[in-house]
């Protein structure tokens, strides 16, 4: 049984390492910024996930106590990875203004929020959750 668990942990770590390398390789190989975003947001998620599951198994089996920190790392990873990707995609849209014409139409009356003001919710209020009366306002954030 010990051997089986150890084998499983080893398999998870090696598999995680493989996906980590593939993600980093994708970063180097893919041709432009938007495609490069796909490597780090995905392949590394499974890479880190595998290491975390292996770590939980190890502490549960070898040390006999359950470790919550791995679940927290997963939680924070899932919160931060999409937001980082969004920031990079947004700065890409800002810097390549020529891309404006290359984007598909929104299919509604307003354009994409990066070029055409903040999103407006169904109630007619801006959907951004920042308080409206903050000094500088939303326009202050525009680079």
């Amino acid at each position: 049984m010990d051997l089986l668990i150890e084998g499983l942990i080893a398999f998870l770590i090696v598999g995680a390492g493989f996906f980590g390398i593939v993600g980093s390789f994708g970063l180097a190989k893919l041709p432009d910024l938007m495609t490069r975003l796909h490597g780090p947001t995905k392949a590394t998620t499974l890479g880190i996930g595998g290491v975390l599951i292996a770590s939980m198994l190890f502490f549960l089996w070898e040390r006999g106590h359950f470790s919550w920190h791995e679940l927290l790392i997963t939680l924070f990873l899932f919160l931060t990875a999409p937001i980082t990707a969004n920031f990079i995609a947004k700065s890409f849209l800002h810097r390549r203004m020529s891309r404006r014409t290359e984007l598909p139409p929104t299919g509604s009356s307003k354009g994409w929020a990066t070029f055409d003001g903040p999103p407006i919710g169904a109630d007619g209020e801006p959907m951004a959750i920042a308080p409206a009366d903050r000094p500088g306002g939303r326009d202050g954030e525009r680079g």
């Binding site: 938007m34 495609t35 499974l46 927290l72 939680l75 990707a85 509604s108 999103p119 407006i120 959750i129």
Partner: protein, 166 residues
């Protein structure tokens, strides 16, 4: 009294979540850490209340669990698929493109979760939202058929999120 409670705990769900996260961070349950967690769970929602004017409505805990499992499974699929694309498909052969996904969701929280889900799952990254919040801009790594991508996102994620949030 209820008004005072509402002012002190503008987001009970956030309070509970922060307390649990603190206990996980401490890696164990004791009286001291529960009290510390509750203090943090009270102060943080109180100070950040202006950023959360409405309380998001969340229903169906079972549906949320099902959604999380589906997304986790899709992340595993996404990893294998992207790994295949990176290793075996020449960059010139990738059919990368931007795709518009029209939205039926209206709450900001639901759209945020959908955008995050799209970024974490097969070959897609969400890039922008339309000015009126009715469409998402998605970048696909390899999409021979953009309509199929839109249909899958709407059927697999948006429908489920609609049941959870609205």
């Amino acid at each position: 009294m209820t008004l005072l409670l509402k002012k002190l705990f503008p987001h009970p769900l956030l309070t509970a979540t922060l307390t649990v996260v603190w206990l996980m961070l401490v890696n164990g349950v004791s009286a001291g850490s529960v009290i510390m967690g509750l203090i943090l769970g009270t102060i943080v929602p109180f100070l950040t209340a202006p950023f959360w004017p409405d309380r998001p409505t969340v229903r169906n805990p079972v549906r949320i669990a099902a959604y999380i499992l589906i997304v986790l499974w899709d992340i595993v699929r996404a990893n294998i698929h992207v790994a295949y694309l990176v290793l075996f498909v020449p960059s010139a052969k990738l059919r990368t493109r931007f795709v518009t996904v029209p939205l039926e969701l209206t709450s900001a929280e639901a759209i945020t979760v959908l955008a995050g889900t799209i970024t974490m799952t097969p070959g897609t990254v969400s890039a922008d939202v339309s000015g009126d919040g009715r469409a998402l801009l998605i970048h696909c790594l390899d999409a021979p058929d953009p309509d199929a991508v839109v249909a899958e996102i709407k059927q697999r994620y948006e429908g489920r999120l609609k049941e959870i949030f609205e």
